[in-house]
Amino acid sequence: MDHFTNPRNVGEIAEASGVGEVGNPTCGDIMRIYLDIEDNIIKDVKFKTFGCGAAVATSSMVTEMVKGKTIEEALQISNKAVAEALDGLPPAKMHCSNLAADALHEAIKDYVAKQQSGK
């Protein structure tokens, strides 16, 4: 509940190293995660979320979990781990928690793609 009331790291990063977005309006949850990566380390992370309370809380939690981690470590973070860090979510809400880690992984994928294309 605390992560819904006072979500951490809300916002955008202007020149993000990677941006990941998952979800769609049909299911009612859209999550976007911005990463600032330097020397393989996640220096900063921000998010924007359209979704229920659990979606906001998982977004906030995942950003707290990855800050200062390496890309490899960040890729290890699973949806389950995010839910556990929040001391669990109701079963009906597990699809929301799936989004947070997915958005993070998408953002990393975006970063890797950008690196490979030489930007």
Binding site: G11, P25, T26, C27, G28, D29, K48, F50, C52
Partner: protein
């Protein structure tokens, strides 16, 4: 913290006068109405008085009221009971896309058993068109079920006109009046219905009690068999305390109908005006005039309903939403979708349903808190900055 209850379409508090009366029938007048001794007779008398009170409130005769466990059971009895009693005559049922699930799911259940089902559309205000009912009629049609007022958006349907259309055609006409009872006049003859569903807990009565009005000569097959109570239409020992509370609630609602409606309408208009003036990108859902006096339903664009509800709740305000997350399914309100509102905007819908106890101060409090909540959620919404998505519909007005 101030607590403001604006979810009266979900349920209402029991009127203290009703609650006090109910208690008597648990503790001192506890007889079974089917017993022949004085305890039973005392309960039976009170039960029949309550039946009269309910009947009077909807312009019916007491023998035409069958008490049930609530609106859902009455809806099931209406749909299934009519279908089973008339299956020799035909197998076609007509209903609308915005019915309560107690009707829709029961109709779909019958469809699986081989009945033919027509689900009529509604317009963008949630209004059903009488011509659509007329066009859907076939020689096989045995039942038309259309709700009086919609529970989510409050739109009042042209029941009396449908009643006129169906008169003399030998088709059973049912309306679910759970949300209209106590808000606007409900009279079975004026509406021209054969069956009508009502519920106690939406009109300051107890939960777990409702009734089905059955016009004389309308055949209904019983769903619950046993001791033959309720003229063999619904077996099982009557929920005497609840029924007596329902009767009293009807009596009180009858006395207060006009005053309640005027009070609710005043608050409703205040609230709609306040929201529209203080928050940009908001759409009023439902019909602008043909709506029950206690319903405010708005879509607040770029934010999600459950987040709104949680934030309101933290400020002591109770409302409800058509968001998927509040229903446990992935799809948002079937009512809003039927009205042509896209998923994204349906997810941001918010229903405030006002009640007798609400005050102007309550509304002022919501209007003071809501804009800040919306602003906070929009600030974290990825939809707000780039106005992306949603090409299928646009905000009107």
């Amino acid at each position: 913290m101030r607590r403001v209850y604006l979810d009266n379409s979900a349920t209402t508090p029991v009127d203290p006068e009703v609650a006090e009366l109910i208690l008597t029938y648990y503790t001192t007048k506890y007889g079974n109405p089917s017993s022949i001794h004085s305890f039973g007779r005392e309960a039976k008398k009170a039960l029949e008085d309550a039946r009269q009170q309910v009947a009077d409130f909807i312009g019916a005769k007491s023998a035409q009221i069958v008490f049930t466990s609530g609106g859902t059971e009455a809806d099931n009895m209406a749909v299934l009971g009519t279908a089973y009693a008339n299956k020799h005559k035909g197998n076609h049922i007509i209903t609308s896309a915005i019915e309560h699930h107690a009707i829709l799911d029961t109709c779909l259940y019958l469809e699986k058993q081989g009945f033919k089902l027509t689900i009529l559309p509604v317009d963008e205000d949630g209004l059903l068109h009488v011509e659509d009912v007329e066009k859907a009629l076939t020689p096989e049609t045995i039942l038309v079920s259309v709700m009086h007022a919609n529970n989510e958006v409050g739109t009042v349907q042209p029941i009396a006109e449908i009643g006129k259309l169906l008169k003399g055609k030998g088709i059973v006409f049912h309306t679910d009046a759970v949300q209209s009872l106590g808000k606007i006049p409900v009279n079975v003859d004026d509406l021209g219905v054969d069956l009508l569903t009502a519920s106690a807990h939406k009109i300051y009565g107890p939960k777990g009690v409702g009734c089905l009005y059955i016009r004389k000569g309308t055949r209904i097959e019983a769903l619950v068999h046993g001791g033959g109570q309720e003229r063999k239409r619904r077996s099982g020992t009557e929920n005497t305390p609840g029924i007596i509370g329902f009767g009293k609630a009807c009596e009180l609602a009858g006395q207060r109908l006009e005053a309640d409606a005027a009070h609710l309408k005043n608050l409703r208009e205040l609230m709609i005006k306040g929201i529209m003036e203080t928050i940009p990108d908001v759409k009023l859902n439902g019909h602008p005039t043909e709506r029950i006096p206690n319903n405010v339903n708005v879509s607040i664009r770029y934010v999600e309903g459950e987040s709104l509800l949680l934030s309101l709740d933290m400020n002591g305000i109770a409302a409800s939403s058509g968001s998927a997350c509040t229903s446990g399914s992935l799809d948002p309100s079937h009512v809003l979708l039927a009205m042509g509102i896209c998923h994204e905007i349906a997810h941001g819908s918010l229903r405030f349903s006002l009640g007798r106890a609400n005050t102007v101060e309550d509304i002022d409090y919501v209007l003071e808190k809501l804009p800040g909540i919306v602003e906070r959620l929009r600030a974290m919404s990825p939809l707000y900055d780039n106005e992306r998505g949603c090409n299928s519909c646009t905000l009107k007005k």
